[in-house]
Amino acid sequence: MNSSKDVVFAITEEIGTDISYVRRKHGEEEAAYFTGIEIGVLFGGTVLANFLIGMLKGAFAEITSAVGKQIGKSFAAKLIEKLIPVAEQTQFKETDTEQLLKLADHHQKELDAIRGVLASKLAPEEFESFVETNVTYEREQVSIHLQRNGFTDDKAIIYSERLVRRIQQELKTQ
């Protein structure tokens, strides 16, 4: 299974230098930053967490979802609860880049654990189809997250499309 670190690097690659929207949103007023990779890897983790939340929400939006039944509503709710602290991370103002990287590493480990638990509930092919379905929910979840973190509406739409496609691709590379 691709580690969350790999997925996060893929997300960072996809957003590229436009990660500066996040720095701009959370940084000092009137400052022009030289945004580094640390914001990318920390923010990448939040994007992955939001994607997974969207995926779990989507499983229960369809009455007929077989995966939803298999995972179980209460179990999914617990996973979402664990994902929320990572998904709603707003500590992008910290100036110590080493600290930001440590926090990102901690999140990636948490995401690995949550993904491991989720994957253990499903057979590999079921997990793959789970990743592929309900794209609407993942896209919406990621798009709102981008907007909350400084991306303009236009950019949020473009990037949420790209990111969901890339994360699906990365999660399927197992």
Partner: protein
């Protein structure tokens, strides 16, 4: 193609790297930037600590604030930094170092191959750069207007009577970007024209009325005739403020029109930037960044004009208000990209200490190995930072570097596999890389891979990579005599 041509192509690429550095704004400012890089105070800064560097300029102070890895620029005195943590930098006078270096580079190129020198029009380019060092180009005469001469063959603007004729002329004028691309005009000379052309293309008014605005202004200021000749418009005003501030343009419309123009220019910049990262030649990578830089500068010009319009406070519509809000963010983004790309283009010219010089295979490999020997995790982050955040290298070099790091950190097979997959891609693009004068990453990487295999007892692989590292393999690929 022969060996001499390959050396000449490489020399041409070297001259172009310097030219792009000199022409992305204008050569005189480039000379100043080059001097600033060597400011002794900057070399002493511990960027991992906290403090600020203050630069004095006619409009007040500018600060680079650094705090445990984070850096930002601001014109506001950082309140959390004490006086003793701020180092003020004195102004150093610019010289003509770059100009002399360019002339020397071109002289060597001409000696190596007069064909390559002529084919790439180096004489014409040198003449164009020389203009900036001549008495013709004095600060008093700026803003520069050589674009008028360059576009004169496209028709006389004052004779264009219909909307269609003007539209056709405007679309032809975009060719000015080719003159910038081939370093015949500097970024400062074409920036305002391009921004204005983009504004014209999105005009909510007939283009004839924009030309009428120009004529009215001239007649109001100079009269109907000047001497015995009627006052006419030689070229439309290339300041977008002139059009957006015009009384017939309502405040909301001015904001939407101006930001719409900026967004189009920004999208062009992003497209060139994103395409640059996927190129398999360093020359194309830098060329794309060079174009992206111009479009970012144009977008910045348009956004800044909109945000400083006298009528901006009179805006009432929701759409225009939202555009103003977005423009404040986009200005910061475009500015960051401008700085990042300028640093990337300068890294291969000035050899700044902390940035990898991808124009030299040896320097690049040493940079990667230096970080990898320190810590493989740090090396990976540095490489990804250089690719994702700093636009210092294209994707193929990032992957090559990651392969090298994997090998150094003990994952020999994974590292070799990664490098091999990149070499296979590079082989497909080898002809363009040679024609564009790229450094030979192919032979050197195969040589490196052969060395790795030798150290690890992989004899058959070593023999194969050694064969590919030989000049004969490379020559066969590019069909060399």
């Amino acid at each position: 193609m022969d060996d001499v041509s390959i050396v000449a192509f490489a020399k041409r690429a070297e001259a172009y790297r310097l030219l792009r550095y000199m022409m992305f704004e204008n050569p005189i400012d480039a000379e100043q930037l080059a001097v600033n890089v060597d400011i002794p105070e900057l070399r002493k800064v511990n960027w991992a600590g906290s403090g600020a560097i203050g630069f004095s300029n006619p409009n007040g102070n500018t600060y680079i604030v650094y705090n445990r890895g984070t850096k930002y620029t601001t014109t506001v005195r950082p309140s959390h930094i004490s006086d003793d943590q701020i180092v003020y930098v004195s102004h150093l006078a610019a010289s003509t170092t770059l100009w002399l270096r360019l002339q020397e580079s071109c002289r060597i190129l001409e000696e190596l191959s007069s064909d390559v020198y002529a084919t790439f029009g180096m004489k014409k380019i040198l003449d164009s750069v020389a203009y900036f060092y001549s008495p013709r180009s004095t600060p008093k005469e700026r803003p520069l207007a050589r674009y008028r001469e360059a576009l004169a063959n496209l028709g006389e603007p004052s004779t264009l009577a219909s909307n269609d004729a003007i539209r056709s002329w405007v679309s032809k004028c975009w060719s000015v970007i080719e003159l910038y691309g081939s370093c015949l005009l500097a970024g400062d000379e074409v920036k305002y024209v391009l921004t204005t052309l983009a504004l014209f293309e999105l005009s909510p008014f007939p283009l004839t009325s924009l030309f009428e605005m120009n004529l009215e202004w001239l007649q109001q200021n100079f009269g109907i005739t000047l001497g015995d000749k009627p006052v006419g418009m030689a070229f439309p005003d290339v300041n977008v403020r002139f059009y957006l501030e015009h009384p017939i343009v309502r405040p909301d419309l001015a904001v939407v029109w101006g930001t719409g123009t900026a967004r189009v220019l920004q999208k062009h910049a992003e497209q060139f930037r994103d395409e640059a990262k996927l190129k398999f030649s360093i020359e194309q990578f830098h060329f794309n960044l060079y174009l992206a830089l111009l479009y970012y500068r144009c977008a910045l010009d348009a956004y800044n004009v909109v945000l400083s319009l006298s009528k901006v406070n009179l805006v009432t519509g929701e759409r225009a208000l939202q555009r103003i809000e977005e423009a404040r963010t986009e200005v910061a983004l475009c500015e960051e990209h401008r700085v990042v790309i300028m640093a990337s283009l300068s890294a291969v010219v000035l050899g700044q200490l902390a940035l990898p010089n991808i124009a030299s295979v040896e320097e690049f490999q040493n940079w990667v190995a230096g970080w990898a020997n320190h810590s493989s995790l740090k090396a990976e982050l540095k490489i990804r930072q250089a690719y994702d955040a700093e636009l210092l290298m294209p994707k193929f070099l990032r992957d090559l570097a990651l392969g090298l790091v994997a090998y150094i950190s003990g994952e020999t097979k994974a590292g070799l596999a990664k490098m091999l997959s990149i070499m296979q891609e590079l082989e497909k693009h080898i002809n363009e890389a040679v024609l564009l004068g790229d450094p030979n990453y192919l032979s050197t990487t195969y040589g490196l891979m052969a060395g790795i295999c030798a150290k690890n007892g992989m004899e058959s692989e070593r023999a194969e990579y050694s064969r590919r590292a030989e000049a004969s393999y490379y020559k066969k690929l590019v069909n060399l005599k």
